[in-house]
């Protein structure tokens, strides 16, 4: 199954991050999530993103990360295009350039860049966590800290559903190709999505039967075969994450000088070229995606 299948699941490895207990990783990820939603400051978001990237390199998951990022980033570029002409910001807006029938606004550029960085920062941290942790370890760790069993199960299944769906999609596509599926590109691929979801529903039904037949709903203490231990370093990293992201979030909320939406001004040239390159970047991506689908 080549081509469009992108695995967002564990990438085996032996980095310190791989060996770490999933709990500190999850805590950091949720901390960064909270921080990212609490600020629009470009520098803060940019630093969070950059640290996330360093972790990606450090844990040697770069190629798996890039495969996801190469899809996510161009799609997120549309945020710059859309925000620049229709900012998600309280009016009044400051016009800095006209672009055909549209005005490009100062607040729009700012908001576009910060939304893009916010998405990239959050997904980068989340991917580091997902790609360096075994799903069962995440499950066991969350159970340990008292996450309700059913809720926990739903969370982990959702994480696993993505690779399952991708797999299913590849299988159905192969089945259709081996019966001489005519045409290619999105038009031909879209109908394949229907059986993929039917297949997924079927799978979930099967799963619920097999779960029930193995006493999933039973109450009482559950034992787990997989043992995940917290080492001293894990507690340390966790405490560090709690303090760092907590303080940072507190700081970005109370420090009003971090609102650069008015003070950080963009030259018309910069604004126009940014919007243009974001738009072109997205279109190039669309063309490549269609070509990839055609040759799949």
């Amino acid at each position: 199954m080549q081509g469009i299948v992108i695995p967002i699941s564990m990438v085996p490895g032996n980095s310190a991050i791989h060996r770490m207990n999933p709990l500190p990783k999850l805590l950091w990820t949720f901390g960064i999530l909270a921080l990212s939603f609490s600020t629009r400051n470009i520098a803060v978001l940019g630093i969070a993103f950059a640290i996330g990237l360093l972790l990606v390199f450090y844990s040697r998951i770069t190629s798996a990360y890039l495969r996801v990022a190469l899809i996510l980033f161009p799609i997120s570029l549309t945020l710059i295009t859309l925000q620049s002409i229709a900012p998600a910001f309280p009016r009044p807006w400051t016009t800095i350039a006209a672009f055909g029938p549209f005005n490009i606004y100062q607040e729009g550029i700012y908001s576009g860049i910060s939304l893009l960085l916010r998405i990239m920062a959050m997904t980068t941290w989340a991917m580091v966590t997902i790609m360096t942790s075994h799903p069962s370890d995440i499950f066991t760790s969350l159970k340990k800290i008292g996450m309700p069993y059913v809720l926990n199960f739903i969370l982990v299944m959702t994480l696993q559903l993505i690779p399952i769906l991708q797999n299913e999609f590849g299988t159905v596509l192969n089945a259709q190709k081996s019966r001489a599926m005519k045409g290619s590109g999105f038009g031909a691929i879209l109908p394949s999505m229907v059986p993929v979801f039917v297949g997924a529903i079927e799978r979930v039904q099967q799963l619920s039967i097999s779960l029930e037949s193995r006493a999933f709903g039973s109450t009482g203490q559950k034992s787990s075969f997989r043992q995940v231990r917290m080492a001293f370093s894990d507690y340390f990293v966790m405490a560090l994450g709690f303090v760092t992201t907590g303080l940072a979030t507190y700081w970005v909320i109370i420090d009003k000088s971090l609102d650069w939406s008015k003070s950080m001004t963009f030259s018309p040239i910069f604004a126009v070229s940014l919007v243009l390159s974001a738009t072109i970047g997205f279109l190039v991506f669309v063309i490549f995606a269609i070509r990839a689908a055609l040759s799949a």
Partner: protein, 280 residues
């Protein structure tokens, strides 16, 4: 005459887990041949036949279908000549009803509407699918689902028909349908490859067997030769049909029989032969 399938020094390594599933396989298959592919679980049978329709591409070596190198060809293109019935029907079926499932292939091949309907009717009759016609493939039991899988390829009328374990887990009635299918395909001039653990089925229908062991084709010969080769049979943990074992034993122990027998009918025919009769 040029072979319809030509395999030259084929290797295949799965990227996940770095498993070499095929090692140095070379063979030729001629038009109209009936070939059985046998070997233990995991010996590489499915990996081999998936190369013929392009679902897998060689890691090393070449595969030619009808003289054409498969390397640059897409599965969709090869599917016009090669029909592959998946080992697992769940990986093959995707449409909402059996009817749609049967129409999908020939429609894609550009077969005229009336002819598609004719082929669908034929297939439904041949495989006895009348009652399943408007059901969702997932609502049908596993053995019948496998029959539907065969029918979807049957309506495409490919030159090369590949069956991946068609009789595994099937009851007698369904197994009989598979027999009839293979014989019908032979009469229509198709080239048939049948992956199977069912030695009785193979001994009765195929002319030639490919024996795989640990990713290699270790023997390529007639069923009679394969079954009488003790070493091969032992090393692959395969057992010939009982009637063949009997004939082999008779031949070896008491020198009572001269031939290797593949079926009860053959044995009966021999026993009518006065010369052999007293020996048996």
């Amino acid at each position: 005459m040029e072979p319809i399938i030509k395999v030259e020094n084929l290797w295949h390594t799965y990227p996940t887990g770095n498993i070499t599933a095929l090692r140095e396989v070379s063979l030729n298959i001629n038009r109209g041949e009936l070939i059985g592919v046998i070997g233990q679980n995991g010996s590489g049978k499915t990996t081999l036949v998936k190369h013929f329709i392009g679902l897998l591409k060689p890691t090393r070596g070449k595969v030619f279908i009808d003289g054409e190198d498969t390397e640059p060809l897409k599965v969709q293109q090869l599917a016009a000549k090669v029909g592959y019935v998946y080992q697992n029907p769940n990986h093959q079926l995707f449409a909402r009803t059996v009817q749609e499932e049967l129409e999908f292939g020939p429609n894609n091949l550009g077969v005229p509407k009336e002819e598609v309907q004719e082929r669908v009717e034929q297939a439904i009759k041949f495989f006895g699918l009348e009652e399943l016609r408007y059901l969702h493939p997932y609502r049908i039991g596993f053995p019948l689902r496998k029959l539907v899988g065969m029918a979807t390829i049957y309506t495409m009328k490919p030159d090369i028909f590949i069956l991946d374990e068609p009789t595994t887990g099937q009851d007698n009635i369904t197994t009989q349908k598979v027999y009839r299918l293979i014989k019908k395909l032979r009469d229509e001039g198709a080239t048939v490859l049948c992956v199977a653990h069912d030695m009785i089925l193979l001994s009765e229908v195929v002319d030639r067997m490919l024996v795989l062991r640990d990713s290699e084709v270790i023997m390529d010969a007639s069923p009679r030769e394969v079954f009488s080769n003790n070493e091969i049979m032992a090393s692959t943990h395969l057992a010939p049909p009982q009637i063949t074992s009997l004939s082999l034993n008779l031949r070896k122990n008491k020198n009572k029989l001269d031939d290797v027998v593949l079926s009860v009918d053959e044995m009966l025919a021999l026993s009518k032969d006065s010369n052999q009769k007293e020996k048996i």
